[in-house]
Symmetry: C2
Subunit: 388 residues, 2 copies
């Protein structure tokens, strides 16, 4: 284990029927909030009404800021910051999935800053303050509800970059699994893939050879995500399945799985971000394409951990060599992604092979930003060629 710091102050309120508590929680921080959400889905399924009723009961004024897109964009973010400033809100309340939460985090930072918010994404400056953020989560996927990161796409520059700051841990996140029962099958599956992706990045890229706590934690979460996703696949409104998937997705990216594993990278994310920057593809769908290819490419170089994954997660029997054992595990993961309804090749998502060079070129921007020095354009193209 390597030296580390860990601190995650977010308060989680989890379970059916917990949304009416958002008013009292918000009241601890502000009397007027910016209410951020996406499209009309939260109005159709009653979540909007529950939130508004709770705010009203707690005597909290709110200004609405709808219209956050999947893969939220910089132009809309700038509008949100301007509104938060002009309305002088004291906090931001995000109601939605990871996109709504991520854009809300950036609004929280931008509202307390006079410069260009994109500076924080470029790493030019670190946030010095932020509005308090509260969230009501409606999708099990990104883990944004219990971490201090967010991703925004600069649509002009085709840059999908992240910001991290201890100031943007949500103060309180309400996780009611029933809100996810109406999420369509494809987006539920993409969320499960996203959650898995968050834990396997560190698991496979750490150079530490003995991490019994962290490895088992990750393997246990993957088992739990797969079991619950399988249940949901059969019965979309199964509460226990939805609850397990939701909590597992939160735990997958709250800092604990990587605590003590030392330096690690997010290469699958660096590569996937280029897919969803160019095509209208969900992040989780892109990951389902990239991950098996990335694993295939990397298991040749460092097969031991991939073989452990195959054996512990998919009960693969020893195939005589770590490479062969690893291959069986990758095959099983890819088959499972396919089974739950995800694309698993570039062609599944109608991405032409001839775009690989363009994608690889774009992905190097993020790889460079994240310090993934081994991920040259050539290396990324090799990975993408395993995704055909």
């Amino acid at each position: 284990m390597q030296n580390f710091e860990f601190c995650n102050p977010t308060k989680i309120i989890f379970g059916e029927g917990t949304i009416p508590r958002i008013g009292e929680e918000t009241k601890k921080y502000a009397k007027k909030v910016l209410l951020v959400y996406g499209k009309s889905s939260i109005k159709n399924n009653g979540i909007y009404d529950q939130v508004v009723t709770s705010l009203q009961k707690a005597d909290i004024a709110f200004v609405e800021f709808p219209g956050v897109k999947s893969n939220p964009v910089l132009t809309h973010l700038r509008e949100g910051i301007a509104l938060a400033k002009s309305e002088a809100v004291g906090a931001v309340l995000a109601v939605g999935g990871g996109s709504v939460l991520d854009e809300s985090k950036a609004i929280c930072i931008g509202a307390k800053d006079d410069g260009d918010v994109w500076d924080f994404f470029l790493g030019k400056r670190d946030a010095q303050d932020a509005l308090p953020l509260l969230t009501v989560l409606t999708l099990a996927a990104t883990g944004s509800e219990m971490n201090c990161g967010g991703v925004i796409t600069n649509e002009e520059l085709k840059q999908k970059f992240n910001v991290n700051s201890p100031y943007i841990f949500p103060k309180t996140s309400i996780l009611d699994p029933t809100t996810t029962c109406t999420v369509p099958a494809d987006y539920t599956a993409y969320g499960a893939v996203d959650a898995i992706s968050h834990i396997i990045e560190g698991y496979f890229t750490t150079s530490d050879k003995w991490l019994p706590i962290q490895d088992r934690y990750v393997e246990g979460l993957i088992h739990s995500i797969m079991e619950s996703m399988n249940i949901i696949h059969e019965n979309p409104s199964d509460y226990q399945g939805r609850a397990t998937l939701m909590w597992a997705a939160t735990l997958a990216l709250n800092g604990l799985p990587i605590a003590g594993i030392g330096p690690c990278g997010f290469p699958n994310h660096a590569i996937e971000h280029s897919l969803s920057a160019f095509y209208d593809i969900a992040h989780g769908a892109g990951l389902a394409i990239v991950i098996p290819g990335w694993m295939t490419h990397n298991s040749q170089k460092n097969p031991a951990k991939f073989a452990q994954f195959a054996q512990r997660v998919f009960d693969v029997a020893d195939q005589g060599s770590p490479v062969a054992t690893a291959a069986k595990g990758i095959e099983a993961l890819k088959a499972w992604f396919k089974k739950i309804g995800c694309p698993v090749t570039l062609s599944d998502a109608d991405i032409p092979e001839t775009d690989i060079e363009k994608l690889a070129d774009n992905a190097t921007m993020l790889a460079t930003k994240w310090g993934l020095t081994a991920y040259t354009k050539e290396e990324i193209a090799k990975v993408l060629n395993c995704c055909k």
Copy 2:
């Protein structure tokens, strides 16, 4: 999964060489602190010097309050509260194991209150405030470094009771595994047993039948504790073994393993506290005696979870019935406790069988306080009779 709330704001700084950071961390909260510790061991192994040097560099004044005992006692706690008040310290810095941390937590509460501190242990009142607490941990065992509970013994009344309050989460805990390399073999083993006890209480007493996340989390931690303890048993100064045991013990009682499992009890602790209230026996040693007996008694009634434990933790093959499979697991755990040097029966600790009635009588006090209604004197005596 059941509804739950989870919030743990403690900042962990983990790893070799991190103690010199205590000054800067403390400075965030106070200019003058009460420095609480136990006996002279921290002076002999250089920890005291590292802490004092760091405080001096950060320009922090300190008042020393040594003399905390294992199983810390109310009379000494009262002295600490009086000293914290008379010296008007702004924070408490605990340097030691769980006993030092627990007494320090109670000092933090008592120093901000004008009434009798024992009221909080009796549940007569809830704390309304507390001094900030910082800790430098020197023993992997209780998990006190990342939770909001503490245990104190009222030596006059032979009551070993706990207090819980969100105000006593440590602000920062520094965990340097090298501080534990000089812990004697027996106390290292008792710490490992204590950590295991913290996770199996919830695991076995929840009534929820499907908890894939929490079950695997617990089973993974037990594996990690056993693997690291086995390494330390062979080589007491193995850094990776010490680091893994230390972090696992922290994670075992930070609230996460029980998040979502619904109502659960700590019956093994309720019973053990009576052992260490009457005899000069370490908490972990008492648990090594109580746990196998408690498991034997309870596995008859509810064998499925005990069989799962046997199969997943000890790779026990199916013995034809859950009760038989469970029995093999209990046998394996007891053998492992013995192997690492713990007493596993009352007679191993020179506790006469004739004292069972007295112990059972005492344990009912805590069982009643904790709402363990099934734990009558007769029931506790039955458990203790399985510990012979």
